[in-house]
Amino acid sequence: MSKIVDPFTLNQWYAVRTENKNGPDRTHRTRLLGVDIICQDDENGQVSIRRLDRTESQDSELPSRKRYGLVWTSLGMPESGIFEMPETEEEGRRHFVWDAVTVKTSGLRAIENFLDLAHFPYVHSGILGEEPLTEVTDYQVERINNEIWVKDCSFHQPKAAAIAEEGIHVNYIYRVPHPFVSILYKTCPLFPEKFDVIALMVLPREEDVCDIYTTASLFDNVNTDVEILHFQQKIFLQDRLILENQVPKLLPLGGRSEVSVRADAASIAYRRWLLDNGLSYGACTG
């Protein structure tokens, strides 16, 4: 391990594979917090997970859970189960889990970018935003049960979802239940009183390299699975190069960083919450 991992980061559950993906011999190798791990399926689809930096006698077995179409594990001792997303159980939703895209930056940077409404008109022009409608109206940030909630965001979006046929005014709620996970609730174009749910589940391979899994729980009675995949990947990959070019690769916490970043309440709240929980993995000072 390149760096001592702080307890807040260590004791979380992490998505390390999609449920249905598998390599040769029903194994899948990846890395979690700088440690090589291997997932092995048995004939019944049960997944056992081991860390490869320890021998069996040294207790190399890791916990294994399945949730939201993903396989989860932890290198530490999680205080609770994997966070709940009760909204996704609503009838009529279509569920998606999209396999990882690797981004050479801190996973914290990916979450912070996801929370940032201001970049929509520039990076996702014609889809999630459009110049000159660049204003981000005031929104509320709260801490509830040691989670961050960002509420009352609203934005004009030319094509808010694959099913959107015209621009609509979209309401956004963000929830950060985990330092490397953010869940977004946004107005569903099909049923404006309901929210589509899109979540970013980040696997920090190293402090400055992450795999990003995405899940979605949507109302859409028109588009095929592949059409929705293309819509999602288009948006998601518009961010990748920008994320990789951010300097420094680690997320600055504390020190002078908060005055030097753009005054963005959600970003500041996220950084403070990470600091208050003693997080240092994937972050730098100053």
Binding site: H230, L237, Q238, L241
Partner: protein, 207 residues
């Protein structure tokens, strides 16, 4: 006209871009290349036994290979004749660079697949080969630039430019920077400034 398409593929984008330059309407058939690997399943292998994208279907004509599709589209639909001029020297030079786009420049695609989608490839070798290809392209652009030629195969943009553009422009996705290639940088900007240019994730409009 129907294009079997993947949104993140530079070779599919090549065709989308050229169809936009020509102002031609078409429909897309989105293929789940990643993570679904749909292009390797029997249904798609019937369309292209090589298991590769893009594939273009235009009435009775079905074509694979992005470079072949560019030749077809330019020959059939470009009324200006400038994208694929019918003279021996231009046709020979264009063919040479189309081949370069389909071979040497694809090293950049391999580095990108490795870095972005965890493909099991030798990324360092791919990056070294891509840099060697970019050196050749940059030297060529400098050389023809002395004679006032701004495009790869002539004084007008041709399908050679369209063919070489995507994976040069996308190379930073695979850790290949453009810093050492000033002539390439200017050439990319010229393409991005052409009328009816369209973007894709990783390639932006010029403002």
């Amino acid at each position: 006209m129907k294009l079997y398409d993947y949104i993140l593929s530079g070779n599919c984008y090549k065709i989308r871009l050229f169809l936009s330059f020509l102002d031609i309407n078409y429909e897309t058939v989105p293929v789940d290349y990643y993570p679904g690997r749909e292009h390797r399943f029997p249904d798609f292998l019937e369309i292209n036994p090589l298991g590769q994208l893009p594939v273009l279907v235009d009435d009775e004509v079905k074509l694979r290979d992005a470079q072949a599709i560019l030749i077809y589209l330019a020959s059939k639909y470009d009324t200006s004749g400038r994208w694929y001029p019918r003279n021996p020297e231009a046709m020979g030079k264009i063919a040479m660079w189309l081949s370069f786009a389909g071979t040497e420049i694809m090293n950049s695609s391999n580095a990108r697949l490795h870095d972005m989608l965890a493909y099991d490839l030798d990324a360092d070798k791919a990056r070294a080969n891509a840099h060697a290809a970019f050196r050749i392209l940059d030297d060529h652009l400098v050389e023809v630039g002395f004679a006032g030629q701004e495009w790869i195969a002539g004084t007008q943009p041709s399908i050679a430019d369209v063919a070489c553009f995507p994976y040069v422009a996308l190379s930073r996705d695979g850790g290949i920077e453009h810093d050492d290639y000033p002539a390439i940088q200017s050439w990319l900007t010229r393409i991005q400034s052409l009328p009816r240019f369209i973007d894709m994730p990783g390639i932006h409009f010029m403002k």
